[in-house]
Symmetry: C3
């Protein structure tokens, strides 16, 4: 049946005007005053020749703190990805067969930023909305809350209280569009622009993109950061990628190509020798954070991965240390109810307060009008053989360079 | 006419399938992504046999800071109760004939929490939305603003600025349902779940319920608090019940069964001998707060009441000191324009900052998964005889135990 | 055609009941629970006799931080004015032929107050939404952020952190109405009530009005401030009127009738001799602020104006120093991308923190129930002759009184 339809369509196409290479649909735009609360498209309409039945759907959440939140479900026919324009284009979760990427946060709703106050609880307000698979941290700061300086409207140095992980995850997207490539491999793109703009402050613009090819088991983040100001501007960005069950369990292991591993604090130092091993959930567990310096292969790519105990399910993240030179590992194997989770976090820096990061030379600057790219490829590996191959890839990047395990946390000022 | 209809319906019922015991309607649900902006039901549809024509209606407010706020009007045929899911299921007002429970706050709109910033004005931001008949305070703190400690993500003690009366009144309900009992006494229930959840923080869930029986002059609050975290969790809860005219006027009196009465500060100490007497409105009046230790009868019930000057109108609150062991009386007989009001406030503690309350042993803890119940019964007493009976009930609980009036405020640290 | 229709209508009017003098349309009301997201009217419906085709339209913005923001376009047939009820009835921009009043802020969206947090960045959060032609500052404070005292609920002096320029621009209007006068000169009024109310705090009510006559090149702001509290209340108000291109360019000049000009700080002092001259955009330029004491003519009117280099385009603001005794000039000729703009700001005080303003005797009080009026007339002057006439008017007010240029900033405590 499907075959006959495809043949008929192919014939019809001969007589039809040439199809555009790609189809673009704007779902939300503050420039053009557009908001389509509901929208849906699929292979039938746009790529009848595609071998797999994909679909993309936008809808709105209701109830409590999630009233009015937009969600886009991107289903490539095999892998489903849930994206949240209202929360800075974060990725809520992804699913491929029995493999769920994501975690069970104690935050159950997808919290609308207008219900957030980042300054609550000593600058930890961000934690009232934290439940994404991938949440971007930044763009002014990515780390711990606390006082830092800035230059105010009078040209004077003034003090501000940075809030944990910055603002970008709690800024609703200003532009959202879906782009469907109409030729193989039929890449499906969900793009959104998130602005972190302030008068007498940063004018940073982040065009985010989550894409996947029809029928594939991978997804890609391709972000472009632009300084729309006239002057040089500090920035920080960190991709906080979070995994719970089934990928995380007692006996799961972490694997990455790294040069050096540094415990963030005394508590992490205690666990340094088993930094890559995961325990089961335990109430009262205090987070352990490791800072790593990733290694790249000759193509400039590094890779980190998390594999389950049986080593027959794994997720990998491939990124470029040139773009994101630092890698933070966050182990939070607390009770299920409190959020049993681990974070793999490639970033422009580590997760200390910006004041500390700046002193350590880990706060990059962007000239007026300048642009940076960040690309992360996520792979889902199902079956022992696939997991083995992915692990081999990490070891290949590592090569003969043995990772240096530091025993003490760095001195921070 | 009504009788004939009832007979006909009773006959019809013989041939109809057995009616369910109760009817449940979900009006809002973040779990199921439901929000019914408008909804209405009444006795005709659900309890045609009921002796009184009740109705329940949900609608949405517009304009200014109340844009998008949900209100539920619960009319038992005699008593009308206005409930606000968007403001933590607070009770805005109740009305029975010429008796209005509630007050005239200088805050005229029902402020949507997304327009609130609790941290403004030194932690007094809560006061920008305060105009309810019953507003729940808590769940992390119920008292004065100010610094307190907490354990942060690193397992370290850190400082946070508590905001006055906590967050719960400014959290929109995540689940709202109406339950109608289809047999006498036809209890009508409006239930809502309000979550105070934070990663690296409390996971407190409050199922609230306001109910009344068809044709009655009473309403009941039955709340269930659950710690959804794995670890022990401090909590505070206080029912801030506020009354203005016609119940409050010059010559109104307060009556409660109490063991001891303590003035909160020097200003309250000045008025200790007339703590139970109310003056008329006076611009510039500074609030007087009294802390009381309520007494219970053999059934564990205590009672407090406010009666008008003529003692022919009164409102009473019956509660259990086992659930709510402390009672705060707030006298704020300032000018009408500023908010002429008194608060009767049964709570898990008094209204000092949590730091003070903790030292005084008044901050209870809830084990992981554990639950607490809180029940308050409000009675509206119309006519001298009814008021006399209610006052006699308070005196019966008091018995021969004479309340101890302390002259000085407690030492607080 | 239009003439015939008018004649027919005039005839019809003979037989119709007498027309009301004016037509009032309520667009939004929290008192009456009204919100008309879309609305439109024009001369055809209401003033068919008017010589010019005017229209008024209300619509809603979408996308990013402007989702749900109301805008009213008031087109008098010649001059178009964009008003934002959601942002405290601010004026976004005005346009008359090739003259645009307004500026290109780096803030591109019309930010909904519910997305704002005024306390961010050391109390500079207001800057995340700043892009209006006219933004009202106040009502509790109009100046720099920083600590000031207030009297709290206990009657005690307490500390609060004031946020820059106050709250009023980020409070959505509670009442919005359009009034059309049906006789010449057919004044069109857009009125809105913005409340700054707090329990244990100010009860200030501001009825704003923006109006214009059909076919004219002027617009008027007529605001009425009322203290709805019972007690005396401090207030501050400042009209932050902001101009970019084409009025502002290298070679533009500022002109005002003033007694004295004081540089706000050392940086402004450096430029005091050219305080009335504008440079072109320059990245890294630090704002220069001048405080001025305006002079009035025998009718009590003062006037300030900004004229372009060619002196063939100008904007003037006429105001009464009895109502607004202080005038602040803000020069911010930074790069275009950062916000090339100048502000002309008549106010109840200058722009220092309220603590400083109070000490200097520049924080007025309003008795309980008392009212103040503020009127500002904006003129747009097109053509050399019109600009010359406007400048002559300023010089006429100045008369022989030579402005005193101070070389040093005032001592502030």
């Amino acid at each position: 049946m499907a075959r006959i339809r495809r043949v008929l369509l192919a014939v019809a196409t001969l007589f039809a005007p040439a199809l555009a290479q790609q189809s673009t649909q704007v779902l939300l735009s503050s420039d053009r005053n557009i908001n389509m609360p509901q929208w849906q498209s699929d292979w039938r309409k746009l790529t009848p020749d595609a071998p797999t039945a994909w679909s993309i759907r936008k809808y709105v959440l209701h109830g409590g703190k999630q009233e009015g939140v937009d969600v886009i479900l991107l289903d490539n026919g095999k892998l489903i990805i849930s994206i949240c324009p209202t929360r800075g284009m974060g990725i809520l979760w992804a699913k491929l067969g029995d493999v769920r990427l994501g975690w069970d946060s104690p935050i159950k709703e997808i919290v609308h930023p207008r219900n957030m106050n980042l300054q609550m609880r000593g600058g930890l307000g961000w934690l009232e909305g934290f439940n994404e698979l991938v949440v971007r941290c930044g763009l002014e700061n990515t780390g711990q809350p606390g006082t830092d300086k800035f230059i105010n409207n009078l040209g004077d140095e003034a003090a501000m209280e940075l809030t944990v992980h910055g603002k970008i995850a709690n800024i609703p997207a200003s532009e959202v569009e879906v782009i469907v490539e109409k030729q193989p491999p039929y890449r499906l793109r969900v793009r959104g622009r998130v602005d972190e703009r302030m008068f007498f402050g940063p004018k940073l613009e982040l065009w985010t993109e989550v894409s996947t090819e029809v029928g594939s088991d991978t997804l890609r983040i391709s972000d472009t950061l632009t300084n729309r100001g006239a002057s040089e501007q500090e920035f920080q960005i960190l991709y906080h990628c979070n995994f719970g069950r089934p990928m995380l369990e007692e006996g799961s292991t972490f694997l990455a190509a790294v040069e050096r591993i540094v415990p963030f604090n005394a508590n992490a130092a205690k666990g340094i020798t088993s930094y890559d091993q995961y325990a089961g959930p335990k109430a009262g567990f205090i987070e352990q954070v490791y800072w790593m310096y990733p290694l790249a292969d000759s193509d400039g790519k590094s890779m980190a991965m998390l594999q389950n105990k049986a080593k027959d399910r794994a997720v990998s993240i491939t990124f470029s240390p040139k773009e994101l030179p630092y890698l933070t590992l966050w182990k939070n194997t607390t009770a299920e109810e409190e959020g049993y989770v681990t974070g793999i976090e490639p970033g422009s820096g580590f997760t200390a307060n910006r004041r500390v990061e700046r002193k350590a030379g880990r706060v990059p600057k962007l000239a007026g009008g300048a642009t940076r790219q960040f690309t992360l490829d996520f792979g889902i590996h199902v079956g022992s053989e696939a997991v083995r191959r992915a692990a081999a890839r990490v070891r290949e990047i590592q090569g003969s360079r043995k990772p240096l395990l530091e025993e003490s946390p760095p001195k921070m000022q």
